[in-house]
Symmetry: C2
Subunit: 246 residues, 2 copies
């Protein structure tokens, strides 16, 4: 028990690692750091508050899920005036899909901040999305709706939400990228290498360079998948310029 | 077409009936009155904006539903620290149930404000809840999250959300009320009379008096139902004092 308290206390320090990493992820300084500590506490820690209530990120997931839904709803409402209720509902569920939330959480490396008694290799994929939701819930409690909205814009809407893509108008990001490079007279190179590491299944990594500058990296179970993933990331990096092609 | 424009233009007047009734429902002065006009325009009016997009309350329902979910989620999160994710989800779905939203819309008489080509008697029950959701969506667009939250507190949470009741701990409001009156040494009377009016089914109205003062009224298809409904309303009127009994 003393051990757990030590871990938690170290989190509250304003110059500690947790605080620094968190500030980087958030893009602003957290105020109620205790709420964020809860957002990264796994149930296996078995922590209770003074009244015997469980302290872990699961309740914050509920809150974050609601905030994500609202922010995305208002964005879609304003962004797509031609979309009816059914369209808006469908688009939102694509954006907040389990798969997408997992990707968001993984990209931010949220799992690095988790306090858990379970080795991180034993978590399923969903922990990434769950932590992302919990983090959004914590932002709401710490700073209110406006900050929550800003964070979701920065981390979800700007980098990932492209209506054309969601409507399935883009079939292959690799072909889109190649076409764009040719049009803009840019050179490109996919540098693929085997990178299985400690995984049981064979994995490949790819570095995508445009004009000899590495633009995006990705890792997947096939060369093709890794290339597509890197192309998608490059697409979002160049979103405004490239989306004129669609 | 001209006729429709006239109807809509008359709504924008700051001294018109629509504006006055709306201000009373909202508890504050609406700014972007056009948004509220959309919130009370039925699809049967077949109105389009300059770009050909349908103008009616259906998209606002989507937005309002999301805002309701968020505000209720954050209220439950803070109010019930012992409730886990499953509990919070279940409680929220009770509060924003179709039946409950219909009741909220009906109590505010929102249907009186609707512009529609369908006679109001031909609408199903759900129009009340749909209008309530659309109104919440309009408040969000007009004044943002904080006002939306205030409105939901005033119209949903304070009068209707009692955790004990939602958990099913109250079985009969009538017995609760009687017990409370006896304890507090107050007299009570249920004054029931037939009040079918133009309805096809027989209806009863009831006036519930406590210490000879009418506290609540209700109308339903049986005497028992009407009494229970009136008792429930009285309960919420006296919520703080009576809930100590549970």
């Amino acid at each position: 028990m003393k051990n757990i308290r030590n871990i938690l206390n170290s989190r509250f320090k304003r110059n500690g690692n947790f605080f620094i990493q968190l500030t980087e992820i958030l893009g602003f300084k957290p105020k109620k750091i205790k709420v964020y500590s809860t957002a990264f506490t796994h149930r296996s820690m078995n922590i209770k508050d003074g009244k015997g209530n469980a302290v872990n990120y699961e309740r914050l997931e509920f809150l974050g899920d609601a905030m994500l839904s609202s922010v995305i709803a208002s964005h879609l409402y304003l962004e797509v005036p031609s979309g009816d209720e059914g369209y808006l509902t469908k688009m939102r569920s694509k954006i907040v899909s389990r798969e997408h939330l997992n990707e968001l959480g993984r990209d931010l490396n949220l799992i690095d901040l988790v306090e858990s008694k379970i080795p991180s290799g034993q978590f399923g994929d969903n922990i990434h999305g769950n932590l992302f939701e919990a983090l959004v819930g914590a932002i709401f409690l710490d700073r209110g709706y406006k900050y929550c909205e800003k964070f979701i814009f920065k981390r979800v809407i700007i980098p990932y939400v492209d209506i054309e893509t969601l409507e399935g108008k883009v079939i292959s990001y690799k072909s889109l990228l190649i076409e764009w490079c040719q049009k803009e007279k840019k050179t490109f190179r996919y540098n693929v290498y085997e990178d299985t590491g400690n995984d049981e299944v064979r994995h490949f990594s790819v570095k995508l360079s445009i004009d000899d500058k590495v633009i995006a990296k990705a890792r997947a179970t096939s060369k093709k998948k890794a290339e597509e993933k890197a192309s998608k990331r490059a697409f979002f990096a160049f979103q405004k310029r490239m989306s004129k092609m669609i």
